[in-house]
Amino acid sequence: MVLSVIALVSALGVVLSKNPVTSVLCLIVTFFTIAGHYIMLNAQFLAVVHIIVYAGAIMVLFLYVMMLMNLNTELEPQKRNWLKYAGAISGGALLVVLVAALRDASMPAISTEANEVGLIKNLGQMLFKQYVVPFEVSSILFLSAMVGAVVIGKKD
């Protein structure tokens, strides 16, 4: 419960903060709370991977790009303020519609006892036996993304 409140507050901080660096830090807090939820859902390996990949790699990449562009100052004041309100209203309308649609759905409860399914031994064996072809395909995807990023980013 506390984790969820922290997650929602810091997610709002991502959207509402004026300074981009502050929103990166709020997003890191959100990712840590989501990792806490993964641990509560018996996905321990996923929680560790989530922290390493998102908080460790992706957010550092964001901060690095911001540092390169020198963006840690506030942007110029916005002209069209009604767009902001329209965005907030439509996002809130989506929230209301989804909550209203799912409020009366009956779902079974989640048990809270721990089991071994999310540990790295279990998942690793499954990954390299059952899902070895998607694993290799994702490595090719990574390679092509890396080449693409270098090609896009190099000076022409």
């Binding site: 018996n42 996905a43 989640i110 399914v117």
Partner: protein, 105 residues
């Protein structure tokens, strides 16, 4: 703990991401909100896998590996997207998406 709790948490995180995409003009913050939406969906996938694994219908490891592959794709997407944002900044000296409404010249 009922699974509705996770459903509503994911919906709230997703809608905050949607609001951020619609409200903000900074391309990097829009990108971060897209990451937030992806993570909300990942959390929902893990919660549903736990629910069905408790019911004995499926193996929870498959869903966790699916989330793992989503993270892989998200990481690749971030690499390419930040390269594109850097290119846009180099050409226009700004990351405001209002100036990107005309992609030509």
């Amino acid at each position: 703990m009922p699974v509705q709790y996770y459903i509503f948490l994911s919906i709230a995180l997703f809608c905050i991401g949607v609001m951020g995409v619609l409200m903000r003009r900074n391309a990097i913050i829009i990108f971060m909100c897209i990451e937030l939406m992806l993570n909300a969906v990942n959390l929902l996938l893990v919660a549903f896998s736990k629910m069905w694994a408790d019911a004995g219908k499926v193996d929870a490891g498959s869903a966790q590996l699916f989330v793992f592959f989503i993270m892989v794709v998200a990481a690749a997407e971030v690499a390419v997207g930040l390269a594109i944002i850097t290119l846009v900044y180099r050409n226009t000296k700004s990351v405001d998406i209002n100036i990107l409404n005309r992609l030509k010249n």
